[in-house]
């Protein structure tokens, strides 16, 4: 099962390698990892999606908490999960498919970032279902390149407090 962890960490050098090193050393798999500064510039938030059973997840959380630079770990339950990912997709097009692609992108509230030569680069934001649908839809036109931001998430339950 996939779990989304929201992890508040000290915003200084070396923290990312401590966290990623922990996952590789203990054989945990990272599905997705995204890091960025929070409203407090001394704190960064990592959104980590991991795959594993309850026992593995329990260990992941405990081992993360063991790191001195980790301030707080929150396991966001599926019902509280507010999740987004940005993907940029470059597809080939010809005069025949252009309109179809544009129509499809519009359905997903995507944007065309660039159209040059015979490629289109589009941006789509959404949850995983939407992201996968976009890939499926564009596949027949020939996807040339994909880049994904990694998932970012917040819990409906409100602010993850540093204190306590």
């Amino acid at each position: 099962m996939k779990h989304t962890l929201s992890v508040l960490v000290e915003n200084h050098f070396g923290v990312l390698s401590r966290v990623s090193g922990l996952f590789s050393a203990r054989g945990f798999n990272i599905d997705s990892l995204a890091v960025g500064e929070t409203e407090d510039p001394t704190v960064s938030r990592m959104t980590i999606v991991v795959e594993g059973d309850e026992r593995t997840l329990e260990q992941v959380k405990k081992q993360l908490n063991r790191l001195i630079d980790v301030i707080k770990v929150q396991d966001i339950s599926p019902e509280d999960l507010l999740e987004r990912e940005i993907v940029l997709v470059r597809v080939g097009f010809d005069h025949k498919s252009r309109a179809e692609i544009l129509e499809a992108i519009t359905t997903f509230q995507g944007k065309v970032l660039d159209a040059s030569g015979n490629t289109l680069t589009v941006e789509v934001t959404g949850d995983q279902t939407k992201v996968h649908s976009v890939f499926e839809l564009l596949k027949p036109y020939g996807i040339l390149e994909i880049v994904r931001s990694g998932r970012i998430a917040l819990s409906r339950k409100g602010k993850l407090s540093i204190k306590s």
Partner: protein, 582 residues
């Protein structure tokens, strides 16, 4: 306020932390530090190799309970510390390692003697710091000591670039430490403690399984109180040895791979297992699914990540072992354990350790004699292998901080430098290094450190001309093919001792053993006793890796058939208030 250099500030911080001794070797990148130490009140011990310095700091920490400090220069100095840091990390030993680093503006340039020390040591330290600004230094040192000694202790590394050690700033030592990501839970949850007390009251066949956490938190007294109040027998892990007096009738000695037969039976049959500062290591559990299968399990540990890691527990209590046992002892009620104690007492008589006399001297006998000659009161360091297991089986440890051994990492070569660290920490006590020839050869360069500092360490090499445990495994699991387990080209250790200025004694016969030990104890110098022992002696009993306890090899029954003679442990007479075992 007067300005001080980084190096001077470091010394001031060390003094504030009560570090009156450091172990290490100078080099280009830490010369300012050594220069500042030169006229400081801190005692500086120069080891012969940085691995030795790390083990000395570790041995000092284990023997005293204080934080050990080691120093190394950048690059090779730092990489040489790695084994020592990993050893301390696995066994939760508080040390602070301070490594030199190239100038901050050179970092990342492949400078002379540059290594990414923080990167290399990240997975084997509790935490680490690269000090890029001298104004951070005092806070960093304060935090490093705090992190090393609190919660689950462990090694902390400070990487200290040479330009930062020369830069000046005002010295202001922070009064408090406040690390928002580090707040160890110290007092066990009251509700959980109550549940544990209830389970103990209900239990008919309880066992206390005590680990290194008992030593680390200084909870030997509280453990004893619990065991005696509730009449529960106590087994310890390798690292827990000394946490409970082994002459106490409630003592079951060590459990696990080379634990006592009766102890492993007792663990298999218990209905309540109370893990106290112990982490269900694979050398203890064998096959985790089969470990203490019939028992409800309580686990007390300060590190939440150790709870239910390999074996699921029913009543977890996160907290400092001593504080938690104190709370538990206040509400504990004795259960009906007399029948269980009687049963265990019979097993103890029925399945003692045993060995068969051979033409050549037996290593077990040597350890029994050391145990008797020192009345179980020496501080004993060991290497890793058969001799280590025999020391755990045949020396009866009665006091905490008296057994220094690399349990988790299993670091051969740990014994001598750890004994040196202990000798500095406890100058008035008898310090033994019970070692194997293979282990001893890995760090024997530190004889010079012991001699230079006039330490009176007694080294007992159980010399079987082999990596004995490897040889035993090859006989058991690799069809007796002794691939590189024989030690060819060994020196005469007694002559080697003399060459270094220590006293060397060679012992080949049983009747020479005790006189040699007595002579060593009387000699006010370092003594190296080279016991030439039987080469093909195996360490029994043994639970093969990953096997359950009931598939033990080298049992009493098996060895007795071959003519082995029982070697029962000596227990203290029970006082009337001890109630009765029989």
């Amino acid at each position: 306020m007067k300005k001080l250099t980084g190096a001077k500030i470091l010394i001031e911080c060390l003094l504030k932390e009560g570090a009156d001794i450091v172990f290490g070797i100078p080099g280009g990148a830490n010369l300012p530090t050594f220069d500042a130490l030169y006229d400081s009140p801190i005692k500086v011990v120069m080891s012969r190799h940085e691995q030795g310095a790390a083990h000395m700091a570790d041995g000092y920490a284990r023997a005293t309970g204080k934080v050990g400090v080691c120093l190394a220069t950048s690059g090779p100095g730092a990489t040489n510390l790695v084994t020592g840091l990993a050893t301390a990390f696995m066994d939760s030993i508080p040390i602070v390692a301070i490594t030199g680093q190239v100038r901050t503006y050179m970092i990342g340039n492949d400078a002379f003697q540059e290594a990414d020390t923080i990167g290399i040591t990240r997975p084997i330290t509790k935490h680490s710091y690269l000090v890029k600004d001298v104004r951070d230094l005092a806070r960093v040192v304060r935090e490093a000591f705090f992190i090393a000694r609190t919660g689950r202790p462990g090694p902390v590394l400070i990487d200290f670039p040479v330009d930062v050690s020369l830069a000046e700033t005002e010295f202001d030592y922070p009064k408090e430490v406040n690390i928002r990501g580090y707040k160890p839970t110290l007092t066990g949850h009251t509700g959980q403690v109550k549940k544990a007390a209830e389970a103990i009251k209900q239990a008919k066949r309880p066992i206390l399984y005590a680990g290194g956490g008992v030593i680390a938190s200084g909870a030997a007294k509280e453990l004893r109180e619990l065991a005696q109040k509730a009449r529960i027998p106590v087994t310890t892990t390798l690292l827990g040895l000394g946490g409970f007096p082994e002459t106490d009738p409630l003592s079951l000695g060590m459990l696990g791979m080379h634990g006592f037969e009766y102890t492993n039976y007792a663990v298999a049959e218990c209905d309540l297992l109370i893990a106290v500062g112990a982490r269900f290591d694979d050398r203890v559990t064998g096959k985790p699914d089969e470990f203490a299968k019939k028992a409800k399990k309580i686990q007390i540990d300060v590190d939440p990540s150790q709870i239910s890691k390999t074996v699921p527990v029913d009543i977890p209590i996160v907290g400092d072992v001593r504080a938690t046992l104190e709370a538990l002892n206040k509400i504990i009620e004795k259960g009906e354990t007399n029948g269980w104690l009687r049963e265990i007492s019979e097993w103890k008589k029925k399945y003692p350790l045993l060995y068969k006399e051979k033409k050549k001297l037996l290593p077990q006998y040597v350890i029994q004699q050391i145990s008797e000659a020192t009345k179980g009161e020496a501080v004993v360091a060991t290497g890793v292998g058969q001799h280590q297991m025999w020391a755990a089986q045949f020396y009866q440890f009665n006091k905490p901080r008296s057994f220094l051994s690399s349990g988790g990492l299993g670091t051969m070569g740990y014994g001598l430098p750890a004994a040196i660290g202990a000798a500095f920490g406890r100058p008035d006590e008898i310090i033994f290094d019970i070692d194997g020839d293979g282990s001893f050869e890995m760090t024997l360069n530190e004889i010079a450190t012991a001699v230079a500092n006039k330490l009176k360490i007694k080294v007992a090499i159980l010399n079987n001309r082999h990596h004995g445990m490897v040889r035993q495994w090859q006989d058991l699991f690799y069809k007796g093919r002794h691939a590189q387990s024989e030690m060819i080209g060994q020196p005469d250790f007694a002559k080697l001792a003399e060459a270094y200025g220590a006293v060397g004694i060679t012992i080949t016969k049983r009747e020479e053993v005790r006189p040699a030990i007595e002579k060593a104890l009387k000699t006010p110098k370092m003594v190296i006793m080279n016991f030439l022992v039987e080469e093909n002696e195996d360490c029994w009993p043994m639970i093969a890796p990953g096997k359950p306890a009931n598939e033990m090899l080298g049992t009493f029954e098996a060895l007795q058939k071959e003519g082995a003679v029982p070697q029962p442990r000596k227990f203290k007479e029970e006082t009337p208030e001890d109630l009765s075992l029989s």
